[in-house]
């Protein structure tokens, strides 16, 4: 990891209680995320993934009341001092329920809303709208009402609306929960493409460990508001027992190799997490025999 640079996102001893709640939603979070990383946050429902993400653009503590201790810095800005609408110029966020994010009468206007707020000229707007709708695969639906779209299309639209603002940090909360399997891969891949080509920092809360293993280069596991694991996918997914305690599983290839590793005593130190890694390791083992 590029530890020499300043982190683009930093959490310092962050603890957060929702109003009336006795148990903390986040507890002693210390976290550094660097520019250009593709970060996946893993955890069960209610583990604190969404709460953590809401801290990233200042919705916590500016819009959701509650008790926050510690500080969150985005590009060096303390989120306590900047309202969400200003941080929105840096952080683009897609929430898990797409329908609640849509307000306009047509798809094009929905995408335009953020651009209008940024003061983009109408000519550039037209271009950006065409571009992002192409990216998410909604090109032909420009004039449709957002409320006539299917759940998956609405989610793509919400993503397009956030992407249009060209954020430096792009946060998605379970973006694939409404999307069909093919669309799921597509959306994650779009984020990966933006991450590689535009150097956009992507932060993704996700259930699908296979997808995470494929694309992420930084994995954070949280359980009951605490960070349990924080490292590369390789490091995190090798901790099978710790993950199981949090109610999470590892990618199936990792699990498979873990089982034969133990039963056949192969002595593999680093379990593979991707199919291609597994393939080469398997071929290796065959050659040895």
């Amino acid at each position: 990891m590029m530890n020499t640079k300043e982190p683009i996102i930093e959490f310092r001893d962050v603890t957060f209680y929702y109003p009336i709640s006795e148990t903390p939603a986040l507890q002693n979070i210390n976290l550094k995320i660097y520019e250009g990383e593709y970060v996946a946050i893993l955890g069960l429902n209610g583990a604190g993934k969404t709460t953590l993400q809401l801290c990233l653009n200042g919705v916590i503590p500016n819009m959701i009341m509650g008790e926050l201790t510690g500080d969150v810095f985005i590009k060096g800005l303390n989120t306590r001092d900047y309202p969400t609408r200003e941080l929105a110029k840096i952080v683009g966020m897609v929430f898990d329920n797409p329908e609640f994010q849509l307000t306009q009468t047509s798809v094009a206007e929905e995408v335009a809303l953020g651009l209008e707020n940024l003061g983009t000229s109408p000519h550039d707007m037209e271009e950006i709208i065409g571009e992002v709708l192409q990216t998410v695969g909604l090109s032909g639906l420009k004039d449709r009402s957002p409320f006539e779209l299917s759940g998956g299309q609405q989610q793509r639209l919400a993503i397009a609306s956030a992407l249009a603002m060209h954020p430096e940090i792009f946060v998605m909360d379970e973006p694939t929960s409404n999307v069909d399997p093919v669309g799921k891969e597509e959306i994650i891949a779009v984020a990966a493409k933006l991450n590689q080509e535009k150097h956009m920092t992507v932060i993704l809360a996700e259930h699908e460990v296979e997808v995470v293993a494929q694309y992420a280069d930084h994995v954070i596991v949280i359980d009951k508001g605490k960070i349990i694991l924080d490292g590369t996918p390789q490091q995190v997914f090798n901790q099978i027992d710790v993950l199981a305690k949090c109610g999470l599983r590892t990618p199936q290839v990792t699990e498979f190799f873990n089982q034969i590793n133990q039963s056949k005593k192969l002595g593999i130190k680093e379990l593979p997490i991707k199919i291609d890694e597994a393939e080469s390791l398997m071929l290796n083992q065959f050659e040895k025999k």
């Binding site: 994010q101 940024l118 707007m125 409320f147």
Partner: protein, 296 residues
């Protein structure tokens, strides 16, 4: 239930009326509104109805227009029946016919007819306006003449929320039905209020968070994606509308002979037929809507 839309909303089209900018159309609709409230002359009101129906017919909105009118017309028509037996008119009243226990008055027929014409002409123009104007275009135009952006935005979001709430009601109602609760009538709607409105509050909170996340209300210049350009044609239509309204209004105020309430006479048979027809239309409407409610 996806795609449920308001019965009164824009009908996309390419007609002459669609192509007029929102403001001139709004001006005409408001002009008709003012005139219809300023006069009781059946001829002027009738002329506006004819003009309104003509505009509706050239803007290709007929099917949606008739659907809405099918609901509004019976409600407007009942004015004829109610007014004829109890005119909102200074005494003395001239009785012209007897319909069972009801006495029909000359002034009542006049009053009922003009009241009906008044609401009818206003409604036609309002419908033509709404059905040929994209709400966003209207809001952009209003913003240009000084309506605050926030108020415009509230209007846009409200327009969006109504169909969503309709849909949510339907979902809650079917959930109640599937649990063996009553699924129709007022008794079913009442318990579904709580989940729908709690849901609505939650939705609005989520919406405000997501709007702020898209820099809504941030400092700096704001631009607008939609743009409405007023052409020469639009200005001409606007000026003509303004002049026509002003001249008609002046004429109504000056010319006292336009009040035909004592000079216009209705034959007893015609009056009875008119009143019975109005009452029948209204009763049929009630029967049809009640039977619809019971069926669903």
């Amino acid at each position: 239930m996806r795609g449920a839309v308001l019965p009164i909303s824009m009908v996309p089209g390419n007609s002459v009326v669609h192509k007029i900018a929102p403001l001139p159309k709004l001006l005409w609709a408001v002009g008709v509104l003012i005139i219809s409230f300023s006069t009781r002359n059946p001829a002027i009101l009738g002329a506006m109805i004819v003009l309104g129906l003509f505009l509706a017919s050239i803007s290709n909105i007929w099917s949606s227009f008739l659907k809405v009118m099918g609901i509004l017309f019976p409600i407007m028509v009942i004015a004829i029946f109610l007014q004829s037996i109890a005119p909102a008119f200074p005494q003395p009243w001239t009785p012209i016919a007897q319909l069972g226990p009801f006495t029909i008055y000359q002034e009542g027929i006049y009053s009922g007819l003009t009241l009906f014409e008044r609401t009818f002409s206003m409604t036609i123009f309002a419908m033509v306006f709404i059905m040929t104007t994209h709400p966003s275009d209207l809001f952009v135009s209003l913003e240009k003449i000084g309506m605050p952006y926030v108020i415009n935005f509230i209007l846009t979001v409200t327009l969006q929320l109504i169909p969503i709430l309709q849909r949510e009601f339907a979902t809650v109602l079917s959930a109640q039905k599937s649990r063996g609760m009553k699924g129709t009538g007022f008794g079913a709607v009442l318990p579904s209020m709580v989940p729908v409105f709690v849901g609505a509050i939650e939705r609005v909170q989520q919406m405000s968070i997501s709007l702020e996340s898209r820099a809504f209300g941030s400092t700096g210049k704001k631009t607008s994606y939609r743009n409405v350009v007023m052409g020469v044609k639009d200005y001409v239509i606007m000026v003509v509308g303004l002049l026509a309204s002003a001249v008609t209004l002046y004429w109504i105020l000056v010319d006292k002979s336009l009040d035909w309430s004592r000079t216009m006479h209705f034959s007893p048979t015609l009056s009875v037929i008119l009143v019975i027809t109005a009452a029948l239309i209204f009763v049929t409407f009630i029967v049809i809507s009640v039977s619809k409610i019971i069926k669903t």
